[in-house]
Amino acid sequence: MNPSKPPVRRSGAMSASIAGEDQRTVKAPLGHALVDVAREDERIIGLSADLAKYTDMHIFRDAMPDRFYQAGMAEQVLMGMTTGLAMEGFVPFTSTYSVFATRRAYDFICLDIAEPNLNANFVCALPGLTTGYGPSHQATEDIAILRGMPNLTIIDPCDALDIAQAVPQMASSEGPTYMRLLRGNVPLVLDEYDYEFQLGKAALLRPGADVLFISSGLMTERTLEAAKRLAEDRIDVAVLHVPTIKPFDAATVLRELAADRLVISAENHSVVGGLGESVASTMATGGVARKFLQVGLPDQFLEAGALETLHERYGLDVDSLISTVKNNIG
């Protein structure tokens, strides 16, 4: 063995964890939140298509077996079942991977659920680049696919707190919702801030005079970390967290765009059709011009490999955020 050779990195299971080793985490926040809500609301039903175990839906399944339906690996009829239950007055929470809900079952969600504005809720794992398994499982364009669907609310949570607080609001809100689910050991980040998840609202997590990060999903954890490290270099960085991608909180974004700062959007999604483009169009239609950069996944089919490698390769890691700021400021 050559000791100077770095260890080979490999892709892991479909369910590779996004949490770092020494990080505070909460186990299966979706499953536990759903059980809590379902204890209060008899209408809640859980469904999955052979992926309960991989979407934390197994917590609900095991706690309330008579309120869970296993559809088997059949995502289109999974949406049919979801539709029918919602039509009969139940409130379904339906899980699979993001790729299968958005690519395979789009038509069924769009016409049967979104058009009649049914209260059906999708909790879909492996959003963006959260697995090194390759394009079949990397939902790099799920938001781009779904943003064009009228009536649908799209949620991109940062952490376990966002997930736990979003679930009851998804259940009680009218119309369909889609959550980009983080599963397994999910980082806990936002409890350190004066913050509550509010459906449809963006929230300023920290102020900063030099740079404004506008981020969603797991990227908010990283923009916060980048902001902390940049503060050591006396660069003052604000972080605006946008956990609801649609409807887009343009009012709050425009309010933050009022101050003249370098603006950087950061998302765990393709640069096409996601948060970055939402910010850009808000800026343009709001008549504001700022220096603006988009951090996100390239418009490509991504490679397979270890998740960490891929995050570095495609610039989603904290170091890349920091160099983006340093290379573009001042």
Binding site: V8, R9, R10, S11, G12, A13, M14, S15, S48, D50, L51, A52, K53, Y54, H58, Q70, A71, G72, M73, A74, E75, Q76, V77, V99, F100, R103, R104, G132, Y133, G134, P135, S136, H137, E303, A304, G305, A306, T309
Partner: protein, 286 residues
């Protein structure tokens, strides 16, 4: 049950030895990765040995040879088993197995045609293979080609509507140049297949859809090759070989382990697993 007396001892030994090496090749990959789809790979090895060393026409040095038989693996997570078979078939070098699932490797964890010589389609999203097989079979027929199309699919893939749409198309167009091979291991991601979306009786369903269906012990090489030959002799209908296989086959400690989609194997168990594989093979060869 097929009468297997017609399969000679030499042929049977060749098949069993090929399956042994495919299992060994799979263990190498599973060990470097540390865990994974080794249960499925061990279960499907006899099927792959039959296809790649007995049934299919291909040129190892020319994986895209026009007159090859096509084998479409739609179950992307079975990739390590396919790589193991492609090494046995001399399409891939043995040395490359250690790069399984590694960064920048040609052998990704989920099989992709754009990465690996000899891999015909990209798997991963299940339920695509049989439909593509229909299109290839139509294309081959238009070209007056006598190449045959195989599609290896899993019992889980029988839950997808797309699989049954493809089954209807194949019968509609009388695509006798297709053989589907179902690795019926009774297992899916959330548990036993019968608790997910039961598809039994699978053979009768395929027959009702216009296919010739034969069900065999998918870990008995003689039954597999005879089944494949019988289906290929049918000039009017597509054929499906439903193979009942055992997760972890050939390694008793893994056969007896809780049947899990993603099997856990401890770091110190691989040596023992390899030893057991050899031991079982030697005992059965006596």
């Amino acid at each position: 049950m097929l009468d297997t007396t017609g399969v000679s001892d030499e042929r049977l030994l060749r098949l069993r030895e090929a399956a042994l090496r495919i299992r060994e090749n799979s263990l190498i990959q599973a060990e470097v990765q540390g865990q994974g789809y080794i249960g499925q790979a061990l279960g499907v090895s006899d099927i792959l040995a039959a296809l790649y060393t007995d049934q299919m026409r291909f040129r190892p040095e020319e994986p895209e040879w026009e007159h090859r038989d096509r084998c479409l693996l739609s179950i992307g997570h079975y990739a390590l088993a396919l790589y193991a078979a492609l090494v046995e078939a001399k399409v891939l070098p043995f040395e490359e197995l250690e790069s399984y699932a590694a960064d920048d490797s040609r052998l990704p964890m989920s099989s992709m045609s754009t990465y690996t010589p000899g891999v015909e389609i990209s798997g991963g999203s299940l339920g695509h293979g049989l439909g593509i097989a229909v299109g290839i079979a139509l294309g081959l027929r238009r070209k007056d080609s006598d190449s045959h199309v195989f599609n290896i699919l899993s019992d889980g893939e029988l839950g997808e509507g797309s699989t049954w749409e493809a089954a209807l198309e194949a019968a509609q167009h009388q695509l006798s140049n297709i053989t589907a091979v179902v690795d019926f291991n009774g297992l899916q991601a959330d548990g036993p297949s019968q608790d997910m979306l039961s598809t039994e009786p699978v053979d009768e369903k395929f027959r009702a859809f216009g296919w010739e269906a034969i069900r065999v012990d998918g870990n008995d090489p003689a039954q597999i090759v005879l089944g494949l030959e019988a289906l290929r002799a049918n000039q009017d209908q597509p054929g499906v070989l439903i193979c009942n296989t055992k997760v972890g086959k050939g390694v008793p400690m893994l056969e007896d382990r809780e049947k899990l989609h993603f099997m856990r194997v401890a770091e110190d168990e691989w040596t023992q697993a390899r030893a057991q594989l050899k031991e079982v093979f030697d005992n059965e060869s006596k």
